[in-house]
């Protein structure tokens, strides 16, 4: 009961943060709304019982990536964006397209819920640190290592591009 109420509260905060992210005109307000979204997502993970993922969500996304975003916005001193009248194409193609996409994804999720399987709130069975470690470093070791190498290559690419002198 408490879990359901908390889930709804944090889900609402999450959606409100996401809407605010789009509505705000100043980049720093948008970035901070994104932090709110990340934080409430992490609380939803916590409610599901995935405590390790929740902590990592806060440390990596809210604590590291978004701090860099805010840092860059501060450094570039980006001002408030100008509001345009909006494009016709976006209005007549984008809005129906978005409705169709949301409807399709929603319908697929609802109709396929039997196949996908569900999880009770707070009953996730593989959320603990030990279990995640076992999955990452035993069952899925090769994909995990390949992903690490991929990220390393991306980092080196960023360094090379950043150092290039024109």
């Amino acid at each position: 009961m408490v879990h359901q109420v908390l889930f709804i509260v944090f889900a609402l905060i999450c959606v409100a943060g996401a809407v605010n992210l789009l509505v705000q005109r100043h980049p720093i307000n948008s970035a901070l709304s994104l932090v709110v979204v990340m934080a409430s997502l992490s609380l939803i993970y916590l409610l599901l019982g995935a405590e390790f993922v929740a902590a990592i969500q806060v440390i990596v996304y809210a604590g590291a990536i978004m701090v860099l975003f805010v840092f860059v916005i501060m450094l570039l001193n980006a001002g408030a964006e100008e509001r345009t009248r909006g494009s016709r194409v976006a209005l007549f193609v984008g809005v129906p397209g978005m409705i169709v996409l949301a409807g399709t994804v929603g319908w697929l999720l609802v109709s396929g819920s039997g196949k996908l399987g569900g999880v009770e709130i707070g009953k996730l069975s593989f959320g603990e640190t030990h279990q995640i470690a076992r999955l990452l470093f035993r069952d899925f070791l090769l994909p995990f290592e390949i992903t690490s190498v991929l990220i390393l290559i991306a980092i080196m690419g960023a360094v090379v591009l950043g150092r290039r002198e024109s």
């Binding site: 934080a39 440390i59 701090v67």
Partner: protein, 361 residues
């Protein structure tokens, strides 16, 4: 334990811990002024009360009564939010810190930790990601400093907060990596479990060395990395570039006055306490210490808390001592030290520790 007693116990614990913490913060400022005074061959505060002991109270009254200036051209919402964010985030970390094992008051046994609970079988349950929560909350605390400088709309504040965020991001890496050695040795992220795994003595080749089983001995390199990175995280001398008064007036809190400034000040000191608590929990066995059999039962019950408080006091003293001794780094030295020395050293420490742990297993 039913929900009612749990909530009552939790509220009492929160009120008590926050009260003790904030009093501790107030008297740390007194201690700091006294000690720095002695180091510099002067008296420090002497006028208010005996030995200037009422000085923190007078300071508090002054902070509350001073005019709270809100400069023009600041980003109002964020300017007000930033000090609150800094203080709240620093106080949250206290919630997961265990101060001792358990205490029994009027027939109710409770864990000496805000987030600790006694389960049905008398087993104490702790948040099993306690260490990660502290790291996460610390990383959110960066926003307080970053937003304060940006929203002040002043060049000193902005430069101070840019330095602060760059410094905190850089040293967070070494800080996190320096703790991995502890995790490898204890096999847990729960602070209570980490302390329990440090009870007893070290055995070398089956021989009792009578040296306490604290992680400082195998992790001395990790401890020094932790100490230096944590001092940089709290923006204290010799890493206090963000508020270097000779070049930046007062850094990110230049434009703040009255209680809003006091909030940043309190946040800094609460963060110092968190660092000191973590250092004692992770490297110095938390509340473990020699057993004194001659004490009465009440003394026996409080002894672990006294040991813990003594260790925390030592680290607070160290902070002040270093402030009175060392000059400030230059900015490029600070960055080079973090990235070119601490980070590789932390990675080497992890490799060596994991090899030893794997060899022993």
């Amino acid at each position: 334990m039913d929900i009612k007693t749990f909530i009552i116990a939790a509220v009492i614990k929160i009120a008590l811990v926050v009260f003790i913490m904030l009093t501790g913060v107030a008297y740390t400022t007194w201690l700091e002024r006294k000690l720095i005074g002695r180091i510099q061959n002067r008296w420090g505060p002497t006028r208010v009360g005996p030995f200037g002991l009422l000085q923190p109270l007078a300071d508090g009254v002054k902070f509350i009564l001073k005019e709270d200036l809100l400069p023009d051209y600041v980003h109002k919402g964020l300017f007000i939010l930033a000090p609150m964010l800094a203080l709240v985030m620093s106080l949250i970390s206290i919630a997961v810190i265990p101060f001792g094992e358990t205490i029994t008051v009027a027939g109710h046994t409770t864990a000496l930790q805000i987030s600790g609970m006694i389960q049905a079988g008398g087993h104490i349950s702790d948040i099993n990601i306690g260490l990660l929560i502290i790291l996460g909350v610390t990383s959110i605390g960066v926003y307080g400093v970053a937003l304060a400088g940006w929203s002040s709309n002043s060049k000193y504040s902005l430069l101070g907060s840019l330095r602060a965020s760059a410094q905190m991001i850089s040293y967070e890496l070494s800080l996190g990596l320096s703790l991995v050695g502890i995790l490898l040795l204890s096999g847990s992220l729960s602070l209570r479990e980490i302390v329990f795994s440090q009870s007893g003595h070290w055995f070398v080749a089956g021989h009792d060395t009578h040296v306490p089983h604290w992680f400082i001995f195998p992790q001395i390199v990790g401890f020094f990395i932790y100490l230096m990175a944590a001092y940089a995280e709290t923006n204290r001398i010799p890493f206090d570039m963000p508020e270097a008064e000779t070049e930046l007036v007062a850094g990110y809190h230049t434009e703040y006055s009255s209680m809003k400034f006091a909030m940043f000040f309190m946040a800094e000191y609460v963060n110092m306490f968190t660092v000191a608590c973590l250092a004692s929990l992770l490297f110095f066995g938390g509340w473990h210490g020699p057993h004194l059999a001659f004490l009465p039962p009440i003394g026996q019950a409080l002894l672990p808390v006294v040991y813990f408080a003594a260790k925390v006091f030592f680290f607070i003293f160290l902070y002040i001592w270093i402030r009175g001794t060392l000059p400030r780094f230059r900015y490029d030295q600070l960055m080079a030290f973090g990235w070119k020395f601490l980070l590789p050293l932390a990675i080497a420490n992890i490799i060596v520790t994991s090899l030893i742990v794997a060899w022993g297993a």
